[in-house]
Amino acid sequence: MSEEELVAEAKTLDSWSRHRFLVFVGIAIFISVIMVLISMHLYNTSGTAQLDLSRPGYQSVREQASHTSAFEGYPSTGALDSEALSEFKKLYTEKEKEATSIDSFGGNVITDKALSIDAPK
């Protein structure tokens, strides 16, 4: 089929048949935009954003984040004899120490004085 024949055939088609590909592309883009907006909303409202150190500005600390943990935890099945209880106690004591040893988010690091925005005397 020559180009002239194709053009002639196209002229016989109605508006919908001529533009449907464009309409489908438009609909696909619209759906994608909606999906991205929903994803961004979920990302921001669910608290995921706060755990995302790949955000700009966090490069300096990204490497310091503990990525995978070798800690397998305590098996959720099995008998609960004195040996199993001792095993739990050992694991729990270790983790308890680790979790409670640091006083996180304490200290007055953002006081008016530290930021030099305190009221002049």
């Binding site: 608290g47 755990l51 150190l53 800690f71 935890g73 988010f105 304490g106 006081t111 009221a119 002049p120």
Partner: protein
């Protein structure tokens, strides 16, 4: 009567709009010198805030992971195991539920704090020094709330340990 109520409602709304800023100003009581000082030092202050914000994000990730592990890898498996063995672990289950609730409070507190810090860092503090100051005050309070949430978690972690000791005693007595 209806007309009176209508006028009273409109007056109350208008009064709220007019008095609001004054009430706020009275609460903050900022002098012009203080505002000037904030304006002069706020860029430097924002650099410090940015640094704290970044280090707190790292702390949130690392500590959060540890707090999650306490629940998902220790408390929950033990509670499941107690149930499977048909033992009485009600106290441990209740403490674990408390811990989960506090973990949610920690997550939510940190999210609110992070958002306020981001607002404080992104605001144009030279143009809006009072708003900047208010955001810093708010962020400080929210950081304290996060700290409080971590202390609550620590307390419950210790409580679970105490409950476990009692449970261990109960199992040994039951066996012996």
């Amino acid at each position: 009567m209806k007309r009176f109520l209508f006028v009273a409602t409109i007056s109350a709304i208008l009064l709220g709009f007019v008095a609001g800023p004054f009430a706020y100003a009275a609460e903050t009581e900022m002098t012009q010198q203080h505002i000037d000082r904030i304006r002069a030092n706020c860029v430097e202050a924002k650099t410090i805030l940015q640094r704290v914000h970044v280090s707190d994000a790292l702390l949130r990730v690392n500590r959060g992971q540890l707090y999650e592990q306490m629940s998902t890898k220790l408390m929950e498996p033990l509670n499941n195991r107690i149930t499977l063995n048909r033992l009485d672990g009600m106290t441990l289950a209740l403490t674990a539920t408390d811990y989960e609730r506090q973990l949610n409070t920690f997550r939510q507190s940190y999210k609110t704090y992070d958002e306020t810090m981001s607002d404080a860092i992104s605001i144009n503090c030279v143009d809006k020094p009072v708003s900047f100051y208010d955001l810093v005050v708010s962020a400080r309070q929210k950081r304290k709330d996060v700290h409080k949430a971590t202390l609550e978690l620590h307390k419950t972690i210790k409580q679970y340990g105490v409950d476990f000791n009692a449970f261990e005693k109960y199992v040994k007595e039951r066996a012996g």
